[in-house]
């Protein structure tokens, strides 16, 4: 699965959280501002009291990466280009981390989550067995898990059903549907009191009706903001908003210190469990979208691998038989090299946890071909020298020496092509490049060094028997 990160969203939510800070700061130090708005990648507000200008400017300067435009007391704040690219970078890395965390906690075998290219994320889930698991994993990945605590606009809440989104925005509000009943709407202030970035923990628990709920706790800064707000707003409603849906909007009865809260209702135990994972591992700063997906059902995977593997083994067996028929006992030596070569490729691939794909199989075909080739070249050279009347020992030594440059050049050129492919290729093509690189190194090892050793070992016997047809498969005479 290849995911793309919606980076504009990351900028937008960064600006929004700066807006929350501005609001908290001005409320806290009784600076009067009005019309605080966030529009795409900028935020604007009006300072009402000109004498507070210095204090406000200082506060804004403390936040790094802000570009501030002032028109009298009208402020427009946006991010500098550098800060923007940093935010995007951070959002992508954070998305990789977050998704990895979530999948780890979900308990899947060997999930891979890796950054690919500029703003893409590669997710591989080889451990998925059923369609339901796959669905759950996808929901877990995509869940923004963006928790916001927001103030309900009590004055205008009654008019919410007659209000358009644009009208709500003009009051600095947004309309969110209820999680349990989507028909029901809530009008809340667009700038949240605090968001999930201040969350330290989230756990599944059960309320007095034995319904699953999620208890969360906030860090010290979050607890302070939450305490302050609840203290000042006793009697008002507080909306607990998760991924733009209002889960509950209880009345604040008293100041809530200690920094813990509860999200209740509207989910099953499994949903609560997945949601708690998502909340614990943090919100996705930017939503992800699906760019590419390849999934093979377990039955098809097994079928096709079995079929092509059978075919490969059949072909391989034919080659092995042919080598013995054509080269006699020397062919057996070549076959030992071939088989060890195949074992090396497979074990190294297993070591890297590579899965056998079509391109991987292509790589094996190519390297087996090249390994056969190396042996054929050597044996042909030896035969040539034997025919020219060289002694057996000399023919073998000289044959290897003559064959070496051809084998080396052929293998190195292919290795160069493999390296280029690895650096330009993606996914399966990279796998292909890795397979042939391993295969080429293994075949040079087995064909040049391995078989040579076997020859040396058998040399005395070969010299004694002098039976060229038996050993080298040559015609008599």
């Amino acid at each position: 699965m290849l995911l793309g990160v919606e980076t504009e969203e990351a900028i937008h939510s960064k600006i929004k959280s700066i807006a929350s800070n501005v609001k908290f700061f001005t409320d806290d130090s009784s600076i009067l501002i009005d019309s605080l708005r966030v529009r795409e990648d900028r935020l604007s507000f009006v300072l009402l009291d000109g004498t507070e200008e210095r204090r406000l400017d200082e506060m804004l300067k403390e936040t790094p990466g802000l570009a501030i435009e002032k028109n009298g007391l009208n402020y427009t704040v946006h991010l500098t280009a550098e800060e923007k690219s940093q935010t995007i970078e951070f959002a992508i890395n954070q998305a990789v981390e977050t998704i990895r965390n979530r999948l780890d906690q979900f308990g899947l075998a060997e999930p891979t989550v890796a950054r690919q290219g500029e703003e893409n994320i590669l997710v591989e889930l080889p451990g998925i067995k059923t369609a339901e698991d796959e669905q759950r994993a996808r929901e877990l990945i995509a869940k923004a898990a963006h928790l916001q605590l927001m103030a309900v606009d009590n004055r205008r809440q009654d008019q919410v059903y007659r209000m358009s989104d644009a009208e709500a925005a003009s009051y600095g509000n947004v309309i969110f549907p209820d999680a349990r009943n989507p028909q029901q709407k809530h009008l809340v202030q667009a700038i949240p009191i605090l968001d999930g970035s201040m969350l330290t923990d989230a756990r599944v628990a059960f309320d007095q009706n034995n319904q699953p709920v999620i208890n969360f706790s906030l860090n010290s800064q979050g607890a302070r903001i939450f305490g302050d707000f609840t203290g000042k707003n006793v009697g008002n409603h507080l909306a607990i908003v998760l991924d733009d849906k209002v889960y509950s909007a209880p009345v604040i009865r008293e100041r809530i210190g200690g920094g813990s809260g509860q999200i209740s209702g509207a989910f099953s135990i499994q949903e609560a469990h997945d949601l708690a994972i998502a909340l614990r591992s943090g919100a996705l700063l930017a939503p992800v979208k699906l760019l590419e997906k390849r999934s093979i059902g377990p039955s098809l995977g097994a079928d096709s691998v079995k079929a092509s593997l059978t075919a490969l083994i059949l072909g391989f067996a034919a080659v092995v038989v042919f080598m013995v028929v054509y080269y006699g006992l020397v062919g057996v030596i070549a076959n030992i090299a071939l088989i060890s070569n195949l074992f090396i490729i497979i074990s190294v691939m297993a070591l890297f946890g590579a899965t056998l794909t079509l391109p991987g199989m292509a790589g094996i075909v190519l390297t087996v071909g090249m390994a056969v080739d190396a042996n054929v070249i050597i044996n042909e050279r030896i035969r040539e020298l034997l025919r020219a009347g060289a002694s057996i020992r000399k023919a073998v030594e000289q044959g290897y020496a003559n064959a070496l440059s051809a084998i080396l050049d052929a293998n190195i050129t292919t290795l160069i092509a493999a390296v280029v492919l690895y650096s330009y290729g993606t996914g399966p093509i990279k796998g292909f490049a890795v397979t042939i690189s391993i295969g080429i190194l293994a075949s040079m090892l087995t064909a040049i060094l391995g078989t040579h050793g076997v020859y040396d070992f058998l040399m005395n016997r070969i010299e004694k028997s002098k039976n060229l047809p038996l050993w080298f498969g040559m015609k008599k005479g």
Partner: protein
């Protein structure tokens, strides 16, 4: 066992003009096909979605077509049988961006009244990714060809490098022509097969070139034609043996590997045939066409050898403390 007589030198270069004409004709035909009919890009490179569904009994394609017409996602879908009567493949150019509900889920929903089935494969490639894959694939081909050219020019001579690349381009274009002719879907696995052919044909060519290099140094004749005839004949048994064995492996893969591997196996089969042919009849004649200078190369190599010996002598003297 022995198939080819070793001592015979076949007069390849005498017939090479005819094969040159044949090669040119094939290449022109391939380019013509490529220009008129164009490559049949599969979803990997064009973007889109492929869903493979397996039913528990034979199914009518019309029923499936009607069912998927409910959802606009399947606007331009084509539905075809895949291997057997129970299995179908639905292909369309659209794709879904949502991670939570993807094209496979949509298919599950719209097909629910068509019988008992299982979705065996969902491949979805977004339009942006498709273009990127295409770009990178071509880039990889071009860069690897340049790198190979440089290596061969360094190890042999620049003419060998160019001749090898000419043979490569010859092979790739003819195989691509065959892919167009038989309307094979060009996907990532076909690209991998093309790359395999590239490696394979290169291997073949270099083995022959290695012999030419060796014969140039050792033989008494200065006639390139004779050197080439001799070298190609000497390596002929190796060339054909290796090709034959690899051809076996690929043939079994093609015949028994199942529907999913068909295009891949086909590409390799054609590639091995063309690659073997080109290393005998294209690469070496190109060398002559580029006016490879046997005498010049011989002298250069002799010069190199002389320098090496001198160096060795000096080193020996140095070690003995004479200098």
């Amino acid at each position: 066992m022995q198939i080819f007589s070793k001592d015979k030198t076949y007069p390849f270069m005498n017939v090479s003009p005819y094969f040159l004409v044949l090669s040119l004709l094939l290449m022109v035909a391939s380019l013509f096909l490529l220009g008129t009919r164009g490559l049949n890009y599969g979803i990997d490179f064009s973007g889109g979605t492929l869903i493979q569904v397996k039913y528990d009994k034979p199914v009518s394609l019309d029923v499936i077509r009607q069912s998927i017409a409910q959802d606009p996602l399947f606007r331009d879908a084509s539905v075809t049988k895949f291997g057997s009567d129970e299995e179908v493949v639905i292909r369309f150019s659209g794709s879904t961006e949502s991670v939570e509900e993807d094209a496979g889920d949509v298919a599950l929903r719209v097909l629910q009244n068509t019988g008992e089935f299982e979705i065996r494969r969902v491949d979805m490639v977004g339009p942006k990714v498709g273009a990127e894959l295409r770009e990178k694939g071509v880039m990889a081909l071009v860069v690897s060809i340049i790198a190979i050219l440089a290596y061969i020019a360094y190890r042999f001579e620049w003419r060998f490098g160019i001749a090898a690349v000419v043979a490569l381009i010859h092979d790739i274009s003819i195989v691509v022509g065959a892919l167009v002719l038989f309307r094979v879907d060009i996907n990532l696995d076909i690209l991998a097969a093309l790359l395999t052919i590239l490696g394979y044909s290169l291997n073949d060519t270099i083995i022959v070139f290695d012999r030419i290099r060796e014969s140039t140094k050792e033989s008494k004749t200065l006639d390139l034609k004779e050197v080439i005839n001799y070298s190609v004949s000497q390596t002929l048994s190796r060339t054909l043996l290796t090709s034959l064995t690899t051809f076996f492996v690929v043939l079994t893969l093609f015949s028994f590997g199942g529907e999913i591997i068909h295009g891949f196996g086909f590409t390799l089969l054609v590639g091995i045939l063309v690659g073997t042919y080109s290393s005998i009849f294209v690469a070496s004649p190109t060398l002559q066409w580029l006016r490879f200078d046997v005498k010049g190369y011989k002298n250069k190599e002799a010069e190199k050898e002389k320098r090496r010996l001198e160096k060795e002598k000096m080193r020996a003297q140095y070690e003995r403390g004479v200098v």
